[in-house]
Every structure is written in C-alpha cells, then in structure tokens.
Amino acid sequence: MNIIISFIKPYRAFFVLTLLFVVLDVFGALVIPTITADMINVGVSAGDLGYIVKKGILMVIVTVFAGASALLGSYLSAKLSAKIGQDMRNALYDRALTFSVHDFEQFGTASMITRTLNDVSVVQQAVVWCVTMVLPVPALCVLGIVMAFSIEPSMGAVLAGAVVFVMILTLFISKKAAVIFEKMQHFLDRMNVVLRENITGVRVIRAFNKEKYEKKRMKKSFEDYAEAAIKTNCLFAALDCFTFFIINILIVIILWAGGNRIGGGTMEIGDITALTEYTILILFYLMMAQMVLILLPRAKVCLERIEEVLEHKPEISDGREEDALEDAGEDVAVFQNVTFRFKDADEDTLGGLNFTCRRGQTTAIIGGTGSGKSTIAKLLLRFHDVTGGRVLLNGRDIRTMSQHELREHIAYVPQKAWLFSGTIEENLRHGKEDASEEEMFHGLEVAQAGFVKNLEEGMKAHVAQGGTNFSGGQKQRLAIARALMKKADLYIFDDSFSALDFKTDRALRRALAQETKDAAVLIIAQRINTILNADQIIVLHNGKTAGIGNHKELMESCSVYQEIARSQMKGEEM
C-alpha cells in the first residue's frame, strides 16, 4: 500500500486541492436544501416575497460555487490519476529495462505487459473513484449529521444511527462481495484463455476431431462466467435496493417524528424538506462508496503486482568503471573456467568452459538443443552473470565495466531475428545512429539483403512489429545488417543463419569474413556447413566442452562432433 502513497507524494498539493474541491461540492449540495428550508420557513410562512428572492439569489451563488468546485474537482482528479498512471508506467518500464533475462523471465513477457498496461489502468481508475466517491464521504456524513442536529437533535440522532447501521452492514457485505468479484475476474480470464486456445489451435483441434470436446470446454467457461457475472449484478442490485429501502423508511420516520416536532414548535415545516434531502444525499454517497469498496480488492491485487516489479532487484548491476584498460593483445573475449547455473536449476548449464576469441579469427560453437550454446552469447552480453570463473573482454572482467560500455564493444545477431516496427532504415540505425546511406547499403549488401533495393520504398520500407512482413530468411539478413552497422570488437551470431538457404549462407559468410577481419567473430550454429572453415570449433555437450579444434581435427578426435556431422550428412556421401 505504501507504494501508492509514494506515487501520490509528488502531487501532494494537487491531491489536497482535489479533495478540497470535491468536499466543497458536497458541502454545496448540503447547503442548498438548508436554504430551501429557510425559504419555506421564513419567506413562505411570513409571505415575504423579497426574502424568497433574496434566498433564491443566495442559492444561485452557492450553486455556481459548488458547480465550479465540482468541475475543478473532476478536472484535478482526472489529471492526478493520469499523472500517477504515467509515472507508474514509466517506472515499471525503466525498471524492466534494467532486468536481466532471468529477472524478466520470472515475470514472463505477457505478465509484464499486463502489469505495465492493464494493472496500472485499474489502479488509476481506483484512484479516481477513491478521490471522488470514497474520501469525501466521511466529511459528508459528519456535515450532514451536524446540520441535522442543528435543526433538531433527535433527527440528527436518527440520521447518525442510519449511517452507522449502513456502515456496519457494509463491512459484512464487502467481504462476501470481494469473494464473488474475485471469482468473476478469474472466470473472465479463463474465458479469454479458452477462446484464444480455440482460435489459435483450430487446426490441431480439427485434426484430432476434438470439436465437441472444445465446444463443451468453451460452454463451461461461458456458463461459469455468466453465473458469476449474474451473481455480481445481483449483488449490486441488492445494494441499490437496500439503500432505496432505508431511504424510504427514513423519510417516513422524518415525516412522523417531524410532524410531531413541528406541532411542538421545535421544528418548522421546511425542515422536513432539508432533512429528506440530507438523507437521500448521504445514503446515495454511502452506496456509491460501498460499490467502490467492493471493487477495491481488485485494484489492490494489481497494485501488489506492480509493486513486485518495482521492488525486484535486478540481479545484474553495473561495475565500477575505474579500472584502466589493459592491453589484452589479440584476445578479445576470454572465458576462464566459466560455469553457469540457472537460479532454480539443480545442475550447471555450463561447466568449466575455457576458450579465447581472438581478433581476426572465427570461433564457432556447436551442440544440440539445450547444450547451452545460446547461454554463452548471453553471458558475454551480461544478460546473465557467470556463477563461477570469469569472462574477460579486452582484458577486463566484464563485471567491472558498465553494461553500456560492454555492449558498445559487441555486435549481436540474436537467434530469433527480431526487428522493430518502423522502417528498415530505423532498424539499421539501432546499430549506428548516424549511419550514412552508403554505409547502410553496404551493410545490407554484406548481409546478402540486396532485396531491400528492389522494394518499392527501399530503405524506407515499412517493417511490421517483430518484422513479420518479411520472411524468416529476410529477417535474419536484416538483423545481420543491423549488427554490421556497428563497428565492434566482437561479433556474435547466435544461430543466425538457420533460415538461410545454403547458397546464401555461403555467400554471406564469404562477405562477412572481409567485413570482420579486424574483429573477433563468434558463431553459434547447428549446421556443420556454416562452421566448416572456422579457426576453432568448440563442441558443447550437456554444457561441457566435448572438444576444441578445427573441423578436420574434430572429425578425427571428437565423437560428439562426428555424430552431429553424421546426422547432417546422411545420404551417399557419408
């Protein structure tokens, strides 16, 4: 809960002002029937039209003030909640940017998106509701009861009694209501999941003849939701009816007791109008507050989910940058006895890894799915931190530099060629912000992405989110071009040639060799063809080095390598 306070804090003055205006509006709503009562009591009884007109003018003034306060109140509360929402989203996003791969995976992409978008919206809405419908209620109740007291103490007592009664009941109802509401939320999510599964899995469902089963599953989720939704609606209807009932009873009591008191001379006829209005106003606000209170637990859950992200300490932090750069000679990246284990795993993903990527050389890593190949790239980029040993870049332990500096030296092509929506040019500029047109075309050429030239809009061609409007091979080549824009000491290609046909693969590798001759190259691959000519090949098996050497040496000495080769070169040649 503290978190919401910390987000409101920068807008403290804002917040207080908003509350003030909301309360002023409510106060106006109470004053007007009081004036009306006065009008009837004095003006009408005495037959004094001047007095009536005077009171009328007063009412207009109060109305104008109350109206202005109400408008200002809603303006400020809208602004306040929007600001809080904006700050929360920015804080969440900036925090997410500091997360390592592991940090992020603990939440999951979908959940992080929900937290940044929907959860914040829910909290935002709750803030508005609280400010406009819950927080002014105590002030309203106290004021209303005091005013009723000033008319006639017993009437004040009746009203106070009713308010306390409704409040006690609220406590009972809201607990039950929260359960019902939570259930509905759960069924809503369930319905969405089942629907999505049915749409994305339509081929599988039909292939397995599971239409009937899925129909039943959908029906069940629809029915569960409908039942819960109807229950929730009934709950709100009950609340509404209950308030209506209490108002009716109070009006009758006011008439009965009021009549006698008017007879007794302690009250006047107009006071009945005032008291009735107070009652309706207070109970109406109480009902609204109740509804908000029922909805609040949901906002609280969302708030907690936001808090989780904001409180999560990123596992990787920047090193101090004071160490001077030593001359590491030709050794660009060095793995020294590196082990790595995922936090919740029982076994090391990588163990006792030793190798060096030298300038002007190509180092290749090959191994099966789950052998830990990609983890090596992630360790180099510090998306994970080693659990043992160390990784050196240009002679320095990468944990002693800032992540920014580290990544300045590395150009990376990921396994999943991800492009950002925008234009091809914008994507290439991620590699080098001020790249010239020639530079970009050169990069595309080397990456065998000449097809860009043939596009109608060339470099300005639109890229859909994730690059989905390009084929897998085109995406990979664009991702390679993007990495080549960057002049780096180390180029990492994480299985980046898999979607290319063999001809392009070969042409690309030839062009690359020229381009990267002053840097170290690390290629992670599944295909043996891709790495045949590498200066050194590291064969990974279950996270351990099964062999290091060039193709020829490994074909002679390394059984795992031979096996991989055999699996890919089945046919007459072998």
Binding site: D25, I32, V44, I52, T63, A66, G67, A70, S74, Y75, A78, S81, K83, Q86, A96, L97, F104, E105, I113, L117, M191, V202, V204, R206, A207, F208, N209, K210, E214, M218, F222, A226, A229, I230, F236, A237, N248, V252, L255, G259, I262, G263, G264, G265, I269, G368, T369, L381, Q403, R407, W418, F420, H430, G466, S471, K503, N529, I564, S567, Q568
Partner: protein, 602 residues
C-alpha cells in the same frame, strides 16, 4: 512522428440496420421473453406507484401544515395519533413499500437478462467457431475474433444491464410526472421544461465530446500497448544495442500521450454530471422562487410544492440522460451487428448426405487432378496428381510458398478442392465426414499448439482415456520423457502460455508424443522437427521410423537429410509438382531436386 488522428478512427460506431438488429436481438432472447414481460408488468406498476406516492405525500404534508396551523390557532399542540395522521403515514409507507417491491422485482429479474443473452450469443459464437472454414481464421487475427466474444459483448451487457430498465421506466416516469406537473401549474412546468431542454442540449454536446475523447484515449492506449508489447518482446535487442535511453524516452512520450488524452477523457466523462446538475439546480431555484410566489398568493399549497419538486427530480434525470443513453445503445447495437455478422459468416460445406466410412485405413492416398486456390480467381494448384501406396513414406519438398502445407490442408480437408478428387483407400474424401477422414490421420505441425493444462493432459489430447502408462510410453518414444521428468511436477506440470516454462523444441516433442499415443493409420509431419536440433531429430527419427512402419506418412521437411529414404519425393514449385520420384532417381534426373540437394550438402 505523431500522425494526425485519423478521423475515421474517431468516428462513433453507429448501427447500420438498427431495426433489423433489434428484431434479431428479440429473437435471440426468446428464452427470456417471459422475463421481459414480467419486467414490463412490474415497470407499469412501479411507475404508477412512483407517480402516486408524491401525490399522497403532498396530501400528507398539507395535512400536517393545516393541522399545525389549526392547532396553533387554538393554542394546542399538534400530535400524530392513529386516528389523526397515523393512518395516513402508514398508507404512505405502504405506498413506498409497494413501489420498492416492484423496484426490487424488476432489478433482480434484469440483473440476469443481459448476461443470459450474452451467454447465448457466446455459445453461438463458440459453435460457429467449429463450423467456420479455416480460411476465416486465416483472414482474421485471433485478437479480432476474441474481441467479438469479449469486448463487443461487454458493451452490450453494459448498455442493456441498466440501460434497458432505465429506458422502460423513463418513459412512464417522464410522461406521468409531466402530466402531474401540468396539473399543478403550467408556468412552473414550462420553467422546468426550459431548463431541462438546456441540459439536454448540454448533455448531447458533452456526450459527443466524451465519446470522441474516449476514442482518442483508446487510440493512444493502443499505441502504447503495441509499443510496450514490442519493446518487451525485443528487450534483448534493446539492451544488446544499448538502446535503453532511446527506448525509455519513447516510452515516456507514449505514456505522456496516454496521460494527456486520458485526463481529458476522464475529465469530460466526470464533468458531465456536475454540469447537468448545475443547470438543473439553477432551474430548480427559479422554480422555487416562482413557487414561493404562488404559495404566498395561495395558488399552491406547501404539499403541492413539495410534490412538484419530487416530480421534477423524477422527470429531470431520464430526460437529461436521453442523449447519453442513445449513444450507448447505438454503440451496443453496432457491437451486436459485428456479432451477427460473424454468426452469418459462410460456413464449411455441409457433410455428405450419406457419408461413406473408412475405419483404420490401409493408407492408400491418391490425388487426382486436383485444382485449388485460396481465392477462386487465383488458382494456386493447377493439376496435382500422385498416388501414395499403403505404408509408403512420401516427402514433400520445395521453397516457402511452393504449396507444401496447402497439400496437407487439402488432404485433411481444412480446405475443399476446387476441382479433382482426393481419395483415401479409393474412397473420395469428399464423400466421408470430416471427422471420419481426420480420425485416420495424425498430424504434427510446425506450430506447436498446446493448451493450458498438464503435460499428461496435453499428450492425451487425442485419446483422453489413455492410462498414465500409455502416456509415458508415448513420451518415451518421442524422447520427451527425460525432460518432462526434470520438470518440478513431472507429467503434472501445468503448461502456462504466460510462463513460457518449456522451450519450443520441448513443445515440439510433446506434439509428437501426442500423435504417437493415437497411433493413426496415416501420419502427417509438417516441419515436425524444425525446432529440434539435428541429433535429437535423429533420435526421434528412430522412434518415428517405428511409428511409420506399415503406415503411410507424409513428411514436409527443410533438412533433406531426413527424407532421403522416402519412397516418393514430391518436389513442389508455385503450387505444382515439378518432379516426383525416389531420391536416387531424382538425383539421376539432375533437375530441381538435385540442385537443392547439392546446395545443402556441398
């Protein structure tokens, strides 16, 4: 960078065939007609008593007023007794109580109306999903279809939940109240009408603005959504290219745009009430002053004034809400039209009238002069013919877009051929029911769809009655057993789309296990091992081989190494088979296949 807001995007949704849609809604809710009639009856009584109560309370107030005055004249103290006023108060209470009872009745009956209607529509959508041809799913994004069953229906329930009841009661209350008001005083009523008109104009102006600003907020929000989705999915790239500051700035800009549009939309939505209240109150002041004059002149009684005010409240609210209500009803009707449009989408061709049945096919598959195009004017396949004899392994190779997957789609009757025939065991598949046809096939797709359930449930998807032992055997055969057992809860691990708890390769192994368990006569493997590494592929290959023994199988593969032993290789290009034969014969022919093969293994 910021594009101008597209006017079209901001335009409000208006139903096109309002009358037809309303009529159809009436039909859709036919199981609830009794409910609606009951509500209508209740509404009649409710409005009647709502109109009567102020009349009686006017009488009562006058009674007290006169009593007090009379008592004062005689120097007595006015007091209620049973004979003297008590009865009347009880009657008023009963009037209130009766009004309340009808209020309760209609509210509770209506509490379920909208959701029941929605349930019916959702069920229809659910059934429709099963009958739509696959081309529908190709043409529409999942999000779009889901939004029919969620957002559109939510809009409808929101509008109907309170709107319909309000609509019913409003008519009676407004008419009744106005009649009573005219009866009391013409001029007071005219003042009321003037100010009500004013606030109606105000509401209509505001509600249009509100909807516009809400649409704008929606637009900003959807931009933020796609930005966040994209940035989170591509976060590794953002970091690898040191784009954090850039990306953060973009986020802050997008979040600011949302905040600005949201605060405007929220303000307009909230401000409308105080604005109306303001106009109404000013009107009430005028009425009060004027009524005061009438009172002094003795043309109205205190009770009448009080009653008049109650009628003012009763009539003002529905009148000022009219334009708002029209707007929500309109957008609900527009949503309804979306749903009906989807329900009216063309369905799959009906099943053959007297279908022929093929159980446990031997596995002879024949394509005979098949012509097909995803749209009739653009043919993809012009003339496809080949025969797969029982037990043969058929490989389909070719570039992306060559029509490999289309071939499978036709075989499974996900799409219907335009011309020609596909035969299974010499029976035209068009003469079989789709269910019967598909029960003969087992399919592993590139797309590794699993549903949110346990691993065991997913493996047993095609054979729910399978024992745990059978499931484990299938998993072992698919080389999935090992990794499943390393998961914290083994076979009972719940697969969660959100948690991303298993890798793509592992998901693939599960889909293979799923088919292994069913052991169908014909196998279809569409890039089944594309996300599995070559060594694992080889291992699965062994299992596959066992599975394929005595079964006809169709294999689409990227890596030619897996298909060199196929009995028949179909080389496809632009929707046609350009070469067919065995590996050896095709290599000897030195055509497209040979070129492809050599490029892979040079």
């Amino acid at each position: 960078m910021e594009k101008e807001y597209d006017q079209e995007e901001l335009d409000l949704e208006v139903p096109r065939y309002a009358r037809k849609t309303i009529k159809r809604m009436w039909d859709t809710s036919k199981d609830q007609h009794l409910r609606l009639i009951l509500v209508l009856i209740s509404v009649v009584f409710y409005t009647l008593f709502s109109i009567l109560s102020p009349l009686y309370s006017a009488y009562l107030v006058d009674f007290i007023w006169d009593g007090v005055k009379a008592a004062a004249k005689q120097g007595e103290v006015f007091r209620f007794t049973w004979e003297h006023g008590g009865k009347e108060i009880l009657i008023l209470f009963l009037l209130y109580l009766i009004t309340w009872i009808f209020y309760v009745i209609q509210n509770f009956i209506m509490a379920g109306f909208a959701e029941r209607l929605n349930l019916r529509l959702r069920e229809q959508i659910g059934q429709k999903l099963n009958r739509l041809p696959l081309s529908y799913f190709d043409r529409h994004q999942p999000g779009e279809i889901i939004s029919r069953a969620t957002n559109d229906l939510d809009k409808i329930s929101e509008a109907l939940q309170t709107g319909l009841l309000k609509l019913f009661t409003s008519v009676g209350l407004v008419v009744g109240s106005l009649i009573m008001m005219f009866r009391y005083n013409l001029w007071l009523t005219l003042i009321f009408l003037f100010f009500t008109l004013l606030s109606m104009v105000l509401t209509s102006y505001f509600s249009k603005k509100t909807l516009h600003s809400a649409a704008r907020r929606q637009l900003c929000m959807s931009r933020l959504t796609s930005f966040v989705e994209e940035a989170y999915s591509g976060r590794v790239i953002v970091k690898a290219f040191n784009q954090e500051a850039n990306s953060s700035q973009k986020m802050h800009e997008a979040a600011q745009a949302v905040a600005e549009s949201a605060s405007r939309a929220e303000f307009l939505a909230q401000a409308i009430n105080p604005a109306i209240r303001f106009v109404n109150r000013i009107g009430q002041v005028f009425i009060a002053v004027f009524a005061g004059k009438l009172l002094i002149d003795g043309l109205l009684t205190v009770g009448a004034v009080q009653a008049f005010f109650q009628y003012v409240y009763q009539a003002a609210e529905p009148l000022t809400e009219v334009s708002y209500m029209i707007n929500t009803m309109q957008s609900a009707l527009a949503s309804m039209e979306h749903i009906y449009k989807m329900l009216d989408e063309e369905e799959m061709d009906p099943e053959a009238e007297s279908p022929r049945k093929v159980e446990n096919a031997r596995g002879k598959v024949e394509f005979r002069h098949v012509r097909f195009g995803y749209s009739p004017d653009r043919l993809l396949m012009k003339d496809i013919s080949f025969t797969a004899r029982p037990g043969q392994k058929i490989a389909v190779v070719g570039n992306t877009g060559a029509g490999k997957t289309t071939l499978i789609n036709l075989l499974m009757r996900f799409y219907e051929v335009n011309d020609g025939k596909i035969l299974l065991d010499d029976v035209d598949t068009a003469d079989m029911t789709r269910a019967n046809l598909r029960s003969n096939f087992g399919m592993v797709l590139q797309d590794t769809w699993l549903f949110g359930g346990t691993i065991a449930e997913n493996i047993a998807y095609g054979k729910p009655e399978a024992s745990r032992k059978e499931i484990i055997t299938a998993a072992k055969a698919a080389h999935a057993d090992f990794f499943i057992r390393t998961l914290p809860r083994g076979y009972d691990t719940v697969l969660d789309n959100e948690a991303e708890n298993i890798s793509a390769g592992q998901r693939q192994l599960l889909t293979i296990a799923r088919v292994m368990l069913c052991s169908p006569p014909v196998l279809i493997l569409d890039e089944a091992t594309s996300s599995v590494d070559t060594r694992t592929e080889m291992e699965i290959g062994e299992a596959m081989k066992t599975l394929m023994q005595n079964r006809t199988s169709f294999v689409i593969a990227h890596r030619l190494s897996t298909i060199v032993d196929a009995d028949l290789i179909l080389v496809m290009k632009d929707g046609n088979i350009i070469e067919q034969g065995s590996h050896k014969s095709l290599l000897q022919a030195d055509g497209a296949y040979a070129e492809l093969y050599n490029s892979q293994f040079a």
